[in-house]
């Protein structure tokens, strides 16, 4: 794989490719994931779920179920306190504890197929399942509202009785939770100045993150009100905040122990099983494990929004974008909180455009409450804009990458929502792709086409804590609160090893529970190597400061007279008698120089995220004209990755995101029937890419260091998912002459479009005769 500018001569460990410290556990089956915990006396919890998309709960009777031998407890929303309705900042998200609680266990109404209604704890999972069948729920079915379009129509059935928005006012029940708008310049004048204006409409489907590990949690409740939950999550502190709010207990009374996590991609940044396992544990006095099946995961955990999008862009014949207008409605699922805002903040931010209007709507529908999914909101939004740009480039006859480069955002460009970009690498990324062997190769053969597209994601920052302990033998432990979802233990160890001058295998990275490290936000937003990495860097520097103090004491000088380089402490030769001590030698003397050395740091990056990230992708496809199946022949992704701490794992992020983007583009979608019941609740019908669907994804790492990080780290995890759907649509157009404006571009949908295209061509030919 190509790596551009990958020579970090100034670093010893950063930029190398050591094997990961948790590798052995993961190839031997020793690593414990959420469902792998067993405790003495443990009971098994199962969840009763709504068969209706929209219904009022008239009554729940569970006497019969309680009488089944082996059943120990049953809980419903009545066992939860009525939570606060006012939205609160919880970790990285604005959440209404009330809505969160209603999503954990339905209160009064069910709002989607699969909505939890009750939960049972029993001595075996089979008994618990049998007990579910004995619970009698009396529902009054209501008309389901499945799309944003339906939900926004006047007179549409209302999902949440007290939902209001500012525009419609306090007296108007609505399904629209929020309308967000960004404006700049004079839109009409901008379009007037254009030589070519194109306006199109797009739709994307609800898609799931598709992590291979279903959610699982074990709750343990002590009689003194202290509790522990073992759970697979991207954010142990987030679980602590959210679960204690829902359960109405003090935050400090809950310890969250993060298990190894079998994928998340944003989907494990909220709570589902955790409060239920804890509630059942409280009621039974036993540890209770709740494990979801795949169908529960698909029906009732947060996928990402399907959207409806309208895009209008104008360009001059030279290729300068003069104005752009984007309108988007995001399906939030059953409760407010789609990724509409980040969608609106990223949709056209890669470009420097004088006149803009962006409108976004967050709309509730009878689908599961959405959750974050890799660059939340950005992929669906970019689909429309990046397709229209392709059409415009064709219309005015310029290379589609040149159009992007010509209008590309750069240092100093103001983003539509206000902030001005610092040093970014969008133009460099597009140029790297344009210069690639792939883009310059010839694609031949019938039904084949090549497409390009670009994407933007701002990356998160937030808060992180880290401790670095130096052991008596001179090795070190690095403790953080960041769950390791894809190799961050390696990057944390590498950063500490770099600062301390230790070999990488003498630094042991540890992921701690919420009682054992300072507050740390979720593993999400591409933030861990950036923000937690910064905390580790600072904690290691704190160690260095203390080492210098110790040496100064021994050498009877001041710490300023001591230098630390590559694991060796020295007196500054210009001032003093030369003295020298290695970290290892000093560590052996900790006991006599003031005790163990503990480095600590915490960071809050405030508004500054992990540095804006950009990706551009080139895709070759072949379309089977008889079936509508699209085969991906070749893919190359270029991405601005800042300093690549571990280049192999950075490549892995690019490849993984691209693969998910390809699945989103071609096959994945939620299929609901007319009653709002999900019809594809398994991985047979929710079709994710297999190895046969993907070529080797080629990567180009463009290393533009991030000025806000001491090592130049930029978030790398997410943006790669953004460009594939549009790039594939553009490639399909080159292959077939058909513009696809709906996702997924699955065989039936593409077949229909191809047929319509043929019919219209035949019609035109007949008219011409």
């Amino acid at each position: 794989m190509a790596v551009k500018k990958e020579a970090h001569h100034k670093y010893r460990v950063v930029g190398t490719r050591p094997i990961r410290p948790d590798g052995i556990e993961k190839v031997t089956g020793r690593a414990l994931y959420g469902a792998d915990y067993y405790f003495p006396g443990m009971l098994f919890g199962k969840i009763l779920r709504s068969p209706y998309a929209h219904a009022r709960i008239k009554s729940i009777k569970f006497d019969k179920a309680l009488k089944l031998p082996g059943v120990r407890a049953i809980v419903t929303a009545d066992d939860l306190p009525e939570a606060d309705r006012k939205p609160q900042q919880m970790g990285e998200q604005q959440v209404s504890p009330y809505y969160l609680s209603c999503n954990v266990l339905a209160r009064g109404k069910v709002l989607y197929d699969g909505h939890p209604v009750a939960a049972v704890a029993a001595t075996s999972p089979h008994i618990a399942e049998e007990a579910l069948r004995l619970i009698e729920v009396d529902y009054e079915p209501l008309e389901p509202v499945m799309t944003a379009d339906e939900a926004m129509k006047p007179g549409a059935p209302i999902l949440i009785d007290d939902l209001r928005n500012q525009e419609e006012g306090p007296d108007q029940p609505t399904n629209v939770a929020t309308h967000l708008q960004f404006k700049r310049g004079d839109l009409a004048a901008g379009f007037d100045a254009a030589d070519c204006v194109i306006e199109r409409e797009f739709r994307t489907a609800t898609v799931h993150q598709g992590y291979i590990e279903p959610h699982a949690s074990v709750g343990i409740w002590n009689p003194d009100g202290h509790a522990t939950v073992y759970t697979c999550t991207q954010g142990s502190f987030t679980v602590r905040t959210l679960a204690t709010k829902v359960l109405g207990m003090p935050e400090g009374n809950l310890k969250v122990v993060p298990s190894e996590i079998g994928g998340g991609f944003g989907g494990k940044t909220t709570i589902y099983c955790e409060p239920i396992a804890l509630l059942l544990a409280k009621k039974t006095g036993h540890p209770v494990k709740v494990t979801m099946s795949r169908s529960e995961v698909l029906r009732a955990t947060g996928p990402t929004s399907g959207i409806h999008e309208r895009v209008k862009i104008g360009v001059t014949k030279e290729g300068r974008i003069t104005a752009a207008q984007v309108w988007m409605a995001y399906e939030a699922g059953a409760f407010p909180g789609s990724p509409m805002a980040p969608g609106a903040m990223t949709v056209i931010t890669s470009y420097d455009i004088p006149n803009l209007l962006i409108d976004g709507y967050d709309v509730v529908v009878n689908r599961p409450k959405t959750c974050a999914y890799r660059a939340p909101g950005a992929t669906a939004a970019a689909f429309g804009v990046e397709t229209v740009l392709d059409e415009l480039a064709e219309q005015i006859g310029i290379d589609p990458l040149d159009l992007r480069i010509m209008n590309g955002a750069h240092e100093g460009t103001q983003q539509p929502f206000g902030p001005v970009f610092k040093r970014i690498g969008f133009i460099e990324t597009c140029e790297a792709l344009k210069a690639s062997e792939h883009y310059n190769s010839k694609l031949t053969g019938a039904n084949r086409g090549r497409g390009v597209a670009a994407g933007f994601w701002f990356n998160a920052g937030f808060q992180s804590s880290a401790s670095v302990y130096v052991n008596q033998d001179g090795t070190a432990s690095v403790v953080t609160g960041s769950v390791d979802i894809g190799g961050s233990r390696a990057s944390m160890a590498m950063i500490a090893a770099e600062v301390l001058g230790l070999p990488i295998d003498e630094v042991r990275p540890v992921v701690a529970d919420t009682d054992s490290i300072g507050y740390t936000d979720v593993t999400a937003g591409s933030r861990v190597t950036f923000a937690t990495g910064m905390a580790v860097y600072n904690a290691a520097q704190d160690v260095v400061r203390q080492l210098k103090e110790r040496a100064a004491k021994m050498w009877e000088c001041t710490p300023d007279d001591v230098e630390f380089d590559n694991g060796v402490l020295r007196t500054r030769g210009d001032v003093l008698q030369p003295q020298q001590l290695t970290l290892k030698e000093l560590a052996a003397r900790f006991i006599r120089t003031g005790g163990p050395v503990v480095g600590r740091a915490s960071v809050s990056t405030g508004g500054a995220g992990a540095g804006p990230a950009f990706a551009a992708i080139c895709v070759d496809v072949e379309v089977d004209p008889d079936t509508g199946k699209v085969q991906i022949l070749r893919v190359t992704i270029a991405q601005d990755v800042g300093t690549a701490i571990h280049p192999s794992y950075v490549e892995g992020q690019l490849q993984g995101g691209t693969a998910q983007g390809i699945g989103w583009a071609l096959n994945e979608e939620y299929v609901y029937d007319s009653k709002g019941v999900l019809r594809n609740t398994g991985l047979l019908d929710y079709r994710m890419p297999t190895c046969l669907d993907l070529p080797a994804i080629e990567t180009i790492l463009v290393e533009v260091p991030n000025p806000t990080h001491p090592l130049g780290v930029r978030g790398v995890g997410e943006v790669s998912i953004v460009p594939p759907p549009a790039a594939i649509a553009n490639a399909i157009y080159r292959a077939t002459g058909v513009r696809m404006r709906e996702l997924p571009m699955s065989p039936p949908r593409l077949m229909k479009a191809l047929q319509e295209h043929r019919n219209s061509r035949e019609g035109q030919a007949a008219a011409g005769r």
């Binding site: 590990e213 996590i261 192999s648 892995g652 693969a659």
Partner: protein, 156 residues
Amino acid sequence: MKNIQVRVNGHPVAREIPDHRLLVDFLRYDLGLTGTKEGCSVGVCGACTVLLNGQPVSSCLALAVMADGGEVTTIEGLAEGDRLHPLQQAFIDYGGFQCGVCTPGQIMASKALLDANPHPTPAQIKEWMMGNLCRCTGYYKIIEAIQAAAAEKTEP
């Protein structure tokens, strides 16, 4: 209930189990071998792949009684003492996983492949491994790891 006798990772095991006990539950719940993962429960994702009498099976679809008198190999039985199997080493060396939850299944499926065909072409590897989903890697590094193990390459 039924008494079954199975050799699991080379060791004889005798248990009384319900007739309907799935092989994955027998391994994870009865024997505590949680290295085998359950991802989809319908035999599509491959996370629960184990070897039954040398053949790869989805243990979420197989009944434990089917293993009676037979031999089961799981991810826990692959290393010899503290020596990793070449496939295990290759998955680490080549970064053949990110989250690692599909890895036991990937390794067991690829072991069955190399047992049947020690020198597969990349196309043969893909054909064989299409029943093992990975959501993190995009597969490239998995294929690379299997190729390396087949070629007995030790360094990337």
